[in-house]
């Protein structure tokens, strides 16, 4: 469900991973995010991370079952959110 917020388009989702967003999935996520022009933020209880930076995502280290908000700003924000949500849903670690 994509919502318009003052900070940009937002999408909430819940991770369901066995081992969390460790190096491999974080690398794939960053790769996926870089295909879009929009700035994409990953927000969870631990803080915020630039979805295009594997290092940022890694250091955010969301729990394997964390509640996440994806926040996108830019011309292709909506497409970016949809594709990342799809990507995270299919992500197997």
């Amino acid at each position: 469900m994509i919502e318009e917020t003052p900070r940009g388009l937002a999408l909430r989702l819940t991770l369901s991973l066995k081992n969390g967003l460790h190096a491999r999935p974080a690398a794939r996520l960053a790769q996926e995010a870089q295909r879009h022009d929009a700035d994409i933020l990953l927000i969870c209880d631990n803080g915020e991370a630039d979805a295009k930076s594997m290092l940022d995502v890694l250091s955010l280290s969301p729990a394997p079952d964390a509640e996440l908000t994806l926040l996108a700003n830019g011309p292709d924000a909506r497409v970016a959110l949809q594709s990342l949500a799809q990507f995270l849903a299919n992500l197997q670690d």
Partner: protein, 589 residues
């Protein structure tokens, strides 16, 4: 560079002559302030270097063979790091803000990120600092115009502070002739890995990093435990001759590797191989080993995520099928101490060697254990497999495993999956508790296996990583000798076989004593098996029995050492020098 000799602990036999190559770049990089008009060009240089690293990595990726698919993930993560906005933008901004050159800005950024990751609670994330550093080094080399690591500098001797299993996974070992490290002991990962790769190696070399210089010629004598830096012509001639002599001996033992390990007076034992991964199977086939005495199953678990039953099944079935009809003894997951799984590391045990490791961990985390056992039971139909439980300290643990095996058998039957029933079940004797109740354990099991490394550590109450107490690591200590005898006798009284799979089995002195005590099988790294069989064929069981008897009667370690050396010298002659003995003091005459 002047000629210098350093001493270390020989952990993998052989002699190597080459040039020194530091595993980690020790050189100080350029630290230069730049005028503002140079800023754009430094930024362009940094971007180009990062792009260059990505291209080089993509190239490497294409060359990764199919069977090493897991390396691709490591490389993919490195490629991602090489274009990470956090890393790159921070460095680019630094060039501009501080007016410094690209290499310096990169170093500062990498250092900052490494600090950040090293300070994290999660040990997995802490270890990622090493990936960031690795990528930083690559970009730096590219900036400095150094050729990438892949196009290497010919026969080299790798010098490092220490090597972790992760280091080795990422290392390009082509062209590495010898390994030298400052840290580590006879049972360190460097030791085990270098032996597996048949690369001469010395560990525990004090002053190595200070004395050695990159690209300097050097000689590694993995037989006597010496490194010669900047050797002169006479050294080179001497060592070239010795290297050739040794390699002739090795070739001879390998040619005869398939001959049985039968002593002069007709007593036959089994000489088996210790393996870590299916990659070692070619070496196993050449070694002439009588089966796999110890298959360590931890490697599949060291990659940050748990392997699936199918992955494990494929690995185990391949090994079993390859070794058939000979037996493969699989040691079930032995994590703990320095081989941490993520889920276990979160326990933060102050003393992991005495904590939840081996069978204790498996019985606590039964999900992980059951997955492995199911894979093993299924792989059992491909040939001749046996199970070995590590870190046993009581009968209850064996009974629990038997119960789990029965449940899994019913489960697999219900799912109609082919699996082996009644796989032989053995236990590792490596705790003092297990030694004292080995008669009870022998009645419950199909075989006993002695892990001498851990047994010595636990008997002597020493930490394997603590160099201050390394002097207590004494296999000839009466407590160790009596324990070995007690275990072997207990097994034989119950009519089951006893094997030894620790380093002691590969040591000529240890081997002679074990043979004298009547051990049924010894197991060592494949590279040692031909030499072990060759040595067994030169010994007499009666001589070994007398030797073992004298050793057991004596309480003085020095006397024992002289005795065993003398006996071996009589039986083996000058060939004794070709067997590395890392456990029984080299310095003795």
């Amino acid at each position: 560079m002047a000629r210098a000799v350093l001493f270390g602990i020989p952990v993998s036999p052989g002699i190597a002559i080459g040039t020194v190559r530091f595993m980690h770049d020790m050189r100080q990089s350029e630290e230069r302030h730049i005028p503002s008009e140079e800023i754009p060009q430094e930024q362009i240089a940094l971007r180009a270097a990062a792009a260059g690293v990505r291209t080089a990595l993509a190239q490497t990726m294409r060359n990764v063979p199919e069977e090493l698919a897991e390396y691709r993930d490591v490389i993919a993560a490195q490629m991602e790091l090489a274009r990470d906005p956090k890393l790159l933008n921070a460095a680019l901004a630094r060039i501009e803000r501080k007016g410094i050159c690209a290499a310096w800005a990169l170093d500062l950024t990498i250092e900052e990120l490494c600090e950040l990751f090293r300070g994290m609670d999660d040990p997995y994330l802490r270890d990622r600092a090493q990936d960031i550093r690795a990528v930083g080094l690559r970009i730096r080399e590219c900036l400095a115009g150094v050729l990438p690591r892949e196009a290497d500098k010919g026969p080299s001797l790798l010098v490092a502070e220490d090597l972790s299993p992760a280091d080795v996974m990422e290392l390009d070992l082509k062209g590495v002739l010898g390994i030298l490290t400052v840290e580590g002991g006879p049972t360190s990962h460097t030791a085990i890995l270098s032996r597996g790769l048949r690369i001469p190696a010395l560990v525990g070399i004090t002053g190595l990093l200070e004395t050695a210089n990159e690209n300097e010629p050097a000689i590694v004598d993995g037989l006597s435990g010496r490194v010669l830096l900047g050797p002169d012509a006479a050294d080179l001639a001497h060592y070239t001759a010795r290297r050739d002599e040794y390699s002739r001996w090795v070739q001879q033992t390998r040619r005869n590797a398939c001959w049985p390990a039968e002593m002069c007076d007709g007593v036959r034992v089994r000489a088996q191989a210790n393996l870590e991964s299916p990659d070692e199977l070619p070496g196993f086939a050449e070694s002439g080993a009588d089966g796999v005495g110890l298959y360590r199953t931890e490697f599949a678990y060291l990659k940050g995520e748990l392997p699936t039953e199918e992955e494990l099944f494929r690995e185990y079935a391949a090994v079993v099928a390859k070794a058939a009809p000979q037996r493969v003894v699989f040691r079930t997951l032995d994590v703990g101490a320095d081989k941490m799984l993520r889920s276990q590391a979160s326990l933060k045990e102050p003393n992991p060697a005495l904590g939840l490791r081996g069978i204790r961990f498996c019985l606590r985390h039964q999900g992980i254990f059951r997955t492995q056992l199911r894979a093993l039971l299924r792989a059992g139909v491909a040939g001749n497999a046996a199970l070995l439980l590590p870190m046993i300290s009581g009968l209850g643990e064996v009974q629990s495993v038997r119960r789990i095996l029965r449940e899994l058998h019913e489960e697999l039957q219900a799912q109609n999956l082919a699996h082996a029933t009644g796989l032989p079940l053995g236990v590792m004797i490596e705790t003092p508790a297990a030694v004292l109740i080995c008669d009870v354990l022998a009645r419950e099991c199909d075989f006993l296996s002695i892990g001498t490394n851990d047994l010595i550590h636990y008997l002597m109450a020493i930490d394997r990583n603590n160099r201050h107490v390394a002097y207590l690591n004494e296999p000839l200590h009466p407590a160790v000798m009596r324990s070995l005898k007690r275990i072997i006798d207990a097994g034989h009284r119950e009519g089951i076989g006893v094997s030894v799979c620790g380093e002691l089995a590969a040591d000529p002195c240890g081997l002679a004593i074990l043979l004298g005590m009547g051990v049924d099988a010894v197991s060592a790294a494949p590279c040692f098996v031909p030499g072990i069989k060759h040595m067994i064929r030169q010994l007499r069981a009666s001589t070994c029995q007398e030797l073992a008897h004298s050793i057991l009667m004596s309480t003085d370690v020095q006397t024992c050492r002289h005795m065993v050396r003398e006996k071996l010298h009589q039986s083996l002659g000058p060939e004794l020098a070709f067997h590395t003995t890392s456990l029984l003091g080299q310095s003795q005459p």
